[in-house]
């Protein structure tokens, strides 16, 4: 009995980053503030396809992807098709790229038109299992997680070193599958980039 209790305690106190959101399961809801202080919830977008992009404007991989790589104009093109694209910064206060001003600057530098939400406690990042910036999650219209992982297969962020020789934008591919009514073919890849700057 004591052993069982100890195992239970260890499980509860273990890292909440370990599991993350499960593919095929309901995506964790969240309520976060955007850079204007407005509250944005995942539940606001019920019935829509949602892309969550973990973001840090000072991460060199994010900079590369937003200026030369697969994130250039991707959010804009997908938003024009009715996809909801939300960038989330789970950096704790004082960490690299955290805070309203740095993210406002990032939005301007990268000409972003989608909202950036601040998750300073890291609760949402940990609920999803976000480990890197960028790290992308795609949620289908039924609210289920259907893709998690890298934006593409070029871990330099620039799209210049694709594994296997051909650049693949995994998020665009997942969204194309969804639009065609197909299961997402590549639904789980290893994210690359800077570590998410959690507080603890």
């Amino acid at each position: 009995m004591r052993t069982l209790l100890m195992v239970a305690v260890m499980a509860v106190s273990g890292s909440t980053l370990a599991a993350g959101a499960e593919l095929g399961a309901a995506a964790p809801d969240f309520s976060l503030k955007d850079l204007d202080g407005k509250t944005v919830k995942l539940a606001d977008f019920k019935g829509k396809t949602v892309v969550l992009e973990w973001f840090n404007p000072e991460c060199p991989y994010v900079k590369a992807s937003h200026t030369k790589g697969s994130l250039v104009d991707t959010a804009k093109k997908q938003t024009a098709k009715g996809i909801v694209w939300l960038s989330i910064n789970s950096g704790a206060v004082g960490k690299q790229g955290a805070g309203v001003e740095k993210n406002r600057e990032g939005v301007k530098t990268f000409a972003m038109s989608n909202p950036v939400l601040l998750d300073e406690t890291g609760a949402t990042g940990k609920a999803y299992g976000a480990t890197n910036t960028p790290h992308v999650f795609v949620i289908n219209k039924d609210g289920k997680l259907v893709y998690r992982g890298a934006i593409d297969n070029s871990p330099d962020g620039e799209g210049a070193s694709p594994t296997g020789g051909t650049l693949v934008n995994y998020v665009n591919a997942a969204l194309d599958d969804l639009a065609a009514g197909r299961p997402v073919k590549t639904n789980d890849t290893k994210a690359y980039g800077c570590g998410v700057k959690y507080g603890s």
């Binding site: 991989y61 070029s154 871990p155 962020g157 070193s161 594994t163 800077c194």
Partner: protein, 160 residues
């Protein structure tokens, strides 16, 4: 002739002659890169592994040493992009090195690499001095941040 005109003419005559600025002597374009580049967070080196017989296969060793609490980012696609003025022949313009890196673990953090090296193969040309040159793209990370670096390296070899 009015006095002011005379005075103007006299003033013009007494001006010192206009001297053209000295022309800098012509010189060869400045070489980009060096065999070793050091910075706060890294040092990178391009080192010879001779001898280099003419028209034969050869290689150099490119090395990355992380410093100041940084480690080599093993996930980054380390790449040597050859320079146009290199005088040896490489197999391709961009040589991926990530999968052939020999990594040295950090003393205090053995799961991370504090140094890495790889061979860069080429074919030498005719006898004489040869230039191996290119840009090494790599990344180093600390607990706080990752940096992506692109450093030009250049080495002159003796092919004989």
């Amino acid at each position: 002739m009015p006095r002011w005109t005379v005075m103007l003419l006299l003033a013009a005559c007494t001006q010192p002659p206009v001297v053209a600025p000295p022309v800098a002597p012509a010189r060869a374009p400045e070489a980009v890169g060096a065999p070793r580049v050091e910075a706060e967070t890294y040092a990178v080196t391009l080192a010879p592994v001779g001898p280099y017989p003419p028209t034969s296969a050869g290689e150099v060793i490119v090395s990355i040493e992380a410093r100041a609490g940084y480690h080599v980012n093993a996930d980054y696609p380390v790449k040597f992009t050859t320079a146009k003025d290199a005088t040896v022949t490489f197999a391709s313009p961009a040589i991926p090195l990530r999968d052939v890196l020999h990594k040295t673990p950090c003393e205090k953090q053995p799961t991370e690499a504090c140094a890495a090296s790889a061979k860069v193969p080429f074919t030498a040309g005719a006898a004489g001095d040869a230039v191996v040159a290119g840009t090494l793209a790599f990344s180093v990370c600390s607990a706080e941040q990752c940096l992506i670096e692109k450093v030009p390296l250049r080495l002159t070899l003796s092919v004989r």
